[in-house]
């Protein structure tokens, strides 16, 4: 996330110097910061809960006590992260209005309703999450397991609905405008817009990859410290296998998404490929930046971009010169999109390599690898996956600029013109930093407690420690 924030800062400063509305810079900073924060939590709501159910299922089906303990502990982690996600998601809904009234006021009738659908899914998710988190001791084991299933399903639906709104900003459709106001909406065309399936599947797979590798990374780190028991091996396997299986699928889907962007969002594609001038036989430039409209410092692979986009070296690709000058993105913006794309793809390739390495080790030894270098790489895989996720998000968000809704609404026309957003942004940064740090500290404390005593104590707030079950019973209270 810091890289994303820094990157956005650079482009924002570049934009701000060009006589933009005064609130554009803080508004974009704030949106980038809070969304960049929230997107880290998303994989845990969407995919970590799935891992939790896998562990739970294994525990019930095979009587695997370690898997059961994992599921139980993961549900506590999920509870903390779900709360953080619920509130940071709420901030985003406020921000849509506070920062971008031009978007909501003019396009709320179309852009807004996917969020209403998301609201239903989120409602279900929150309700069943409570059943699952609080139902461990008093519901029958299988009934308890089944209360987790709607959580996983509705999280898929909720994430899809939010991505539908984002996809609509990239490829808006299904609206009829008259005198600057939406007069008719075709809901199916708004929701299932041109970019919907590509973006949604890409995002959901990313969520599974991030959650899987982060979980695997935690247990790989534990194994590096010598805790190579069944508990750690099971935790590692569940996370790693889910992520490793998803990575190749994601690379295939990512390739489809890139070609869809080539066909439907040529401006974004030009930025991704760092391509100032239209033409054929376009090289794929690895690294590099755009300075004064010229590509610098990149490593070009001849014809590669044309080959990837159209399967022939002669494929014509529109460059930045095909974009009308007033809405052409800045050099800095283009460079950020390009580099973020390279980082995303590079990180995914590294994760693919790690997955193949795992497959090889498993095939040779038929057990969880104990190879120190493999475990070290696996311990870092969660971070790498997160970097890839954030980079992909930068590609789609910064790559859309200067538009908020492509072809319809410029970001500078969407932003609020009232008040001063800097104090709000400052307060948000402080509070989010506190909450983020708090979440990490709380999770670390949980881990230490589990490592130290292995039982699941909980106690009365502000009071002495008492055993778990009696926490709510009257005799444990200090009058």
């Amino acid at each position: 996330m810091p890289s994303a924030s820094c990157a956005t800062t650079a482009v924002l400063q570049a934009l701000a110097s060009a006589g933009e509305p005064s609130q554009l810079l803080p508004a974009r900073e704030q949106m980038a910061f809070t969304l960049g924060f929230h997107i880290i939590i998303v994989p845990f709501g969407v995919a970590f809960t799935f891992l939790m159910l896998l562990a739970n299922h294994r525990g019930l089906r095979r009587g695997d006590k370690q898997a059961m303990l994992l599921a139980r502990r993961w549900s506590k982690v999920a509870a903390v992260l779900f709360a953080v996600g619920a509130v940071s998601g709420t901030v985003l809904t406020f921000e849509l209005g506070i920062l971008w009234p031009g978007l909501m006021g003019r396009y709320g009738a179309a852009f807004g309703f996917p969020f209403a659908i998301e609201g239903i899914f989120f409602f279900l998710e929150a309700i069943f999450m409570s059943f699952y988190i609080y139902g461990w001791d008093r519901l029958s084991p299988w009934a308890h397991f089944w209360t987790g299933v709607p959580v996983v399903i509705s999280s898929l639906g909720g994430a899809s609905a939010v991505v539908a709104a984002n996809a609509w900003m990239n490829q808006p459709g299904g609206i009829t405008m008259r005198a600057g106001r939406i007069v008719d909406v075709s809901p199916a065309k708004v929701f299932f817009n041109g970019a919907f399936w590509f973006e949604t599947i890409h995002m959901l797979l990313a969520a599974y990859i991030v959650a899987g590798f982060v979980v695997a990374g935690v247990y790989a780190a534990g194994m590096l410290k010598g805790r190579q028991d069944a508990y750690h091996r099971t935790g590692f396997l569940i996370g790693f296998v889910v992520a490793a299986v998803t990575v190749p699928v994601q690379i295939f889907v990512g390739d489809l998404v890139a070609r869809e962007v080539f066909h439907s969002e040529p401006a974004k594609f030009a930025a991704i490929e760092l391509l100032p001038d239209s033409g054929d036989h376009v090289p794929e430039t690895l690294g590099g930046v755009l300075i004064d409209g010229k590509v610098r410092y990149g490593l070009p692979i001849p014809d590669m971009a044309s080959l990837l986009a159209g399967f022939r070296p002669s494929t014509h690709i529109d460059g930045l010169d095909a974009i009308p000058a007033p809405v052409r993105p800045s050099d800095a913006g283009v460079s950020i999109v390009h580099l973020a794309f390279d980082i995303m793809v590079g990180a995914s390739m590294a994760l693919l390599a790690l997955s193949v390495w795992f497959a090889w080790l498993w095939w040779r030894h038929r057990r969880v690898p104990t190879n120190v270098w493999f475990l070290r790489c696996a311990a870092l895989s969660g971070l790498v996956a997160l970097v890839s996720l954030e980079s992909g998000w930068v590609v789609t968000e910064v790559g859309r600029q200067p538009w908020t809704v492509v072809g319809l609404l410029l970001t500078q026309d969407a932003v609020t013109t009232h008040g001063n957003l800097w104090p709000f942004f400052g307060a948000t940064v402080i509070i989010y930093a506190t909450v983020g740090t708090g979440a990490l500290l709380v999770l670390r404390a949980l881990r230490r407690r589990w490592a130290a005593q292995g039982d699941d104590d909980v106690q009365v707030p502000y009071g002495p420690e008492v055993p778990a079950v009696s926490a709510a019973s009257p005799e444990s209270r200090t009058p």
């Binding site: 009234p101 709320g108 309700i127």
Partner: protein, 333 residues
């Protein structure tokens, strides 16, 4: 059609005020529960009572926001560009409250719990004050149709402050009533019951006083709202007052469940009264529901969403409350 969406919106506002309000109010009692030892019992009851339900209850807020911005986009933009200060404060308050509560749940050291608990409790008071202020600003017609109204005086005025104070007191009242009932079941605790019963009675009287004061404030500061409330909304207000009195009476008579229903009814009818008094306007007398409404096709989507909510969410929520009530949701997590 627009009216139906207005009803759908206000249903969400009422649900949020009653269920979310009780959770906020629990934070108020958490804040005032005293030191670590003395406050231990009420705080553990608060944790147990709102733990499994607060996120679901919180979702009503999201529901209201999405219905407002999808159904009445220009009104939403007008509200956010005018009331960005209380909205921003409320948003940050929500972050602190939710995180504070969730963190306290899993921390063990008293010092950490005290810190996270204070964060949870303070933000539980700040947030409803802001929401009440926002309601006051909207109800007194201080949000211009094109937005960009006065950032401070639009809500920091007699009606806005009345709204804020009323919200805080009403939340505290609801919470005390709910908590007193929770103290009788499933683990009866006489001392704790009396503790919250006292507070519920006090808060109930405080709500009554604020409402009476409010009559004069509205008469001077928001004459149109006052007029509408005292004519079209009168029946609802009478129901509200009667329910409020009934809640106090049943509380005094030591009934455990009835006060909850009466208190909820009292709050719900006040909100409904506000809605009826505003009708057919969304903002003051300058923007009607119809003027702000999105095209019919969008409104139909909202109707479908509301029906889905009625079919899927209502039974799930009911199951959540029932299981919670029967103490089936008390895992150590």
């Amino acid at each position: 059609m627009t009216d139906a969406i207005g009803v759908i919106l206000f249903t969400g506002v009422i649900a949020y005020a009653v269920f979310g309000g009780a959770d906020f109010g629990a934070g108020f009692w958490d804040l005032t529960a005293g030191g670590a030892v003395r406050g231990s019992a009420p705080r553990s009851l608060i944790d147990r009572s709102i733990g499994p339900v607060w996120e679901a209850n919180h979702t009503w807020l999201i529901y209201c926001l999405v219905v407002l911005w999808t159904g009445f986009p220009p009104a939403f933009a007008a509200i956010t560009t005018t009331l960005y200060i209380p909205l921003g404060l409320a948003a940050l308050g929500i972050v602190l409250r939710g995180s504070g509560f969730a963190f306290r749940k899993v921390t063990l050291r008293t010092a950490q719990q005290r810190l996270t608990g204070v964060v949870f409790a303070v933000s539980s008071v700040l947030t409803p004050f802001c929401f009440g202020g926002i309601a006051g600003a909207v109800a007194s017609g201080r949000v211009p149709s094109t937005g960009g109204g006065a950032p401070l005086s639009s809500w920091l005025n007699p009606t806005g402050v009345l709204g804020g104070v009323l919200a805080v007191v009403a939340c505290a009242y609801l919470a005390a009533v709910f908590l007193s009932s929770a103290a009788t079941h499933p683990y009866p605790d006489e001392a704790l019951y009396l503790y919250f019963r006292r507070r519920a009675l006090a808060a109930g009287i405080a709500v009554g006083i604020v409402c009476l004061a409010g009559v004069f404030v509205l008469h001077v500061d928001a004459p149109r709202l006052f007029h509408q409330l005292s004519t079209r909304g009168l029946a609802l207000l009478i129901v509200s007052a009667a329910a409020g009195l009934a809640a106090l009476a049943t509380l005094r008579a030591r009934r455990s469940r009835l006060p909850r229903s009466f208190a909820s009814l009292a709050v719900a009818t006040v909100i409904a009264g506000w809605g009826v008094a505003q009708y057919p306007y969304l903002l003051g007398t300058h923007m009607s529901l119809a003027q702000a409404a999105a095209p019919d096709s969008t409104l139909w989507v909202l109707v479908a969403v509301a029906c889905t909510a009625a079919v899927l969410i209502a039974p799930s929520l009911a199951a959540l409350y029932v299981l919670h009530e029967r103490d089936r949701l008390t895992s150590s997590a």
